[in-house]
């Protein structure tokens, strides 16, 4: 997450930082120092794994994040020809790893959060999303093979991030939402693969955060099957409804990303305060941060936490 205001103040600009570990680490640290966010996090996009697998990426502009402009594969048969990735060599994976290492050197008590794109979202970057969604109904075994392969790769990337110094791994799986898939497909294609990743991270004594976009009300009853240290949700989800399925597992979120960009600051403060009262455990933007979000607005969020005297993880 980054703000153009911070970029302008510090000289660490998108899109240069996406390919430069020192600048990537620099921006992450400045975001922490200037806005009061309590962690540092890299990378600043969701294209690293997909690019390494062969997707074409447009690196964007100062206020537009990198995005996939061409799938790696036209047909799913192509997955058979994909090889396992080497996180220390392929694409921009090494950039992320080096940035993590630099952050480890340059910071003492600031949690370093590494990031993985979830298996279903990664699959829908590598091949056309609609094609994959159709296959979930028509050829489920094929989809399982694909997700298995991608999960193996994500596990390796996650392990590498930990080796280089990440304290926490967040898995963001925007396409894997109940809104798109519905409860049955969510249970069959999302939960087992996210759990495989979090189980490995857990064995390495690293905590995980799983972020799921959209309205998850259709899959509420399935959430207790997810093994993670924290569930992060989108703004339309009522925190109260998560208390039952999630039990003691902390819940993170969910200040509207749109509100954070629009403001005003006092509205953000009120919204955030209400969320804390409703039981959110870690206060965070609902679905990332628009780069056009002002420092003032982000501080309204981070100051809320301090104002109420609430301790985060």
């Amino acid at each position: 997450m980054a703000s153009t205001e911070v970029m302008n103040r510090t000289g660490y600009y998108w899109p240069e930082v996406h390919k430069d570990p020192a600048k990537m680490a620099g921006l992450a640290k400045e975001m922490h120092d200037i806005t009061g966010l309590e962690n540092v996090g890299v990378p600043f996009c969701m294209t690293v794994e997909a690019e390494a697998l062969g997707c074409r990426v447009d690196y964007g502009k100062i206020d537009i994040e990198p995005r996939i402009v061409e799938n790696a594969l036209g047909k799913v048969e192509g997955f058979k020809s994909l090889k396992m990735l080497d996180p220390e060599r392929d694409g921009r994976m090494p950039t992320t790893l080096e940035a993590i290492a630099l952050l480890c050197e340059q910071t003492k008590d600031i949690p370093i959060i590494g990031n993985l794109v979830g298996p279903v979202s990664l699959a829908t970057s590598v091949v056309d999303a609609l094609l994959l969604l159709r296959l979930m109904k028509k050829k489920p075994q094929e989809v399982h093979r694909i997700l298995h392969f991608l999960t193996d790769n994500l596990i390796e990337f996650g392990k590498a991030q930990i080796k280089y110094g990440a304290d926490i791994i967040t898995i963001a799986d925007p396409t894997a939402t109940g809104e798109i898939l519905g409860p049955a497909l969510f249970e069959e294609f999302v939960i087992p693969y996210l759990n495989r990743i979090t189980d490995v991270m857990d064995q390495l004594e690293t905590r995980t955060i799983i972020h799921i976009c959209g309205n998850i009300k259709t899959v509420l009853k399935k959430l207790d099957r997810l093994r993670t240290n924290c569930l992060s949700v989108d703004s339309m989800v009522s925190i109260k409804t998560l208390k039952e399925p999630m039990g003691n597992t902390p819940v993170m979120g969910n200040v509207s990303t749109f509100l954070l960009e629009k403001g005003p600051a006092d509205k953000i403060f009120r919204n955030a305060s209400t969320l804390i009262k409703n039981g959110v455990d870690i206060l965070a933007p609902a679905c990332g941060l628009s780069p056009r979000t002002s420092v003032e607005n982000i501080r309204a969020l981070t100051q809320t936490v301090r104002g109420v005297g609430y301790e985060t993880n």
């Binding site: 206020d63 995005r67 159709r134 056009r292």
Partner: protein, 217 residues
């Protein structure tokens, strides 16, 4: 119209709802054998089925993968019936441009809207995703579109919608094209603010709104 013909129309609709491509093809063939007018078979058979699918999608009984399967069945039937459409029996469909605004690649919603609008009888020109703002205007003029539909899930792309509308105004062609917008961060008040003609919060509403805005006088 006879009972048998009614049965075939029902089979066409059912095939779509049941995601059954084979049944859709078989029923389409039967419709031809029974000498049901192809346009009628499409509108009162396949399309009716998709309306039911749209309702099931709205009520969260069906989700995106199911809707895609249903549309595959519909297109399978359509492929058989389309060649038999008599030119005079079909009103010239309204042309609609649709795309996801520059900077954004989230297009599942846009694809569903496009599919449903096509089913409803509109001629869709899909510009895809991450569409440059000028392209919306250029393509609309090129095909003489009656409506431009824009969607985005990202706040950073919302401004582009206003730019497109301003471009239409500056070229003096704002009144030639209706503009409808939608997507996660979009709202009726945003639509009012940027001067769009319509806003829809979901797929089914988008189709209804398009029909409302494009009622031919």
């Amino acid at each position: 119209m006879g009972g048998k013909k009614q049965e075939v129309l029902q089979d066409l609709a059912d095939a779509v709802v049941e995601m059954d491509e084979e049944k859709a093809k078989k029923s389409a063939q039967q419709a031809l054998q029974e000498q049901i007018d192809a346009y009628k078979a499409i509108m009162e058979g396949l399309s009716k089925g998709m309306e039911v699918v749209s309702e099931k999608f709205e009520s969260e009984e069906y989700f995106v993968p199911e809707v895609l399967m249903c549309s595959d069945a519909m297109y399978a039937g359509l492929e058989i019936l389309r060649p038999h459409l008599k030119a005079e029996s079909v009103a010239t469909p309204a042309k609609i441009i649709i795309g996801v605004v520059e900077g954004d690649t989230h297009d599942i919603g846009k694809n569903l809207v496009k599919m449903m609008m096509e089913t409803a009888g509109f001629e869709m020109h899909d510009l895809g995703r991450d569409v440059s703002l000028k392209s919306f205007v250029e393509k609309a003029q090129e095909v003489k579109a009656e409506m431009i539909c824009m969607s985005t899930l990202m706040t950073t792309s919302m401004g582009g919608m206003k730019t497109v509308i301003d471009l239409l105004k500056s070229e003096g062609i704002r009144n030639n094209h209706k503009v409808m917008i939608g997507g996660g961060p979009i709202s009726q008040s945003f639509a009012n603010m940027v001067g769009a003609d319509g806003y829809a919060p979901n797929t089914a509403a988008a189709v209804r709104k398009a029909k409302e805005l494009l009622v031919r006088r």
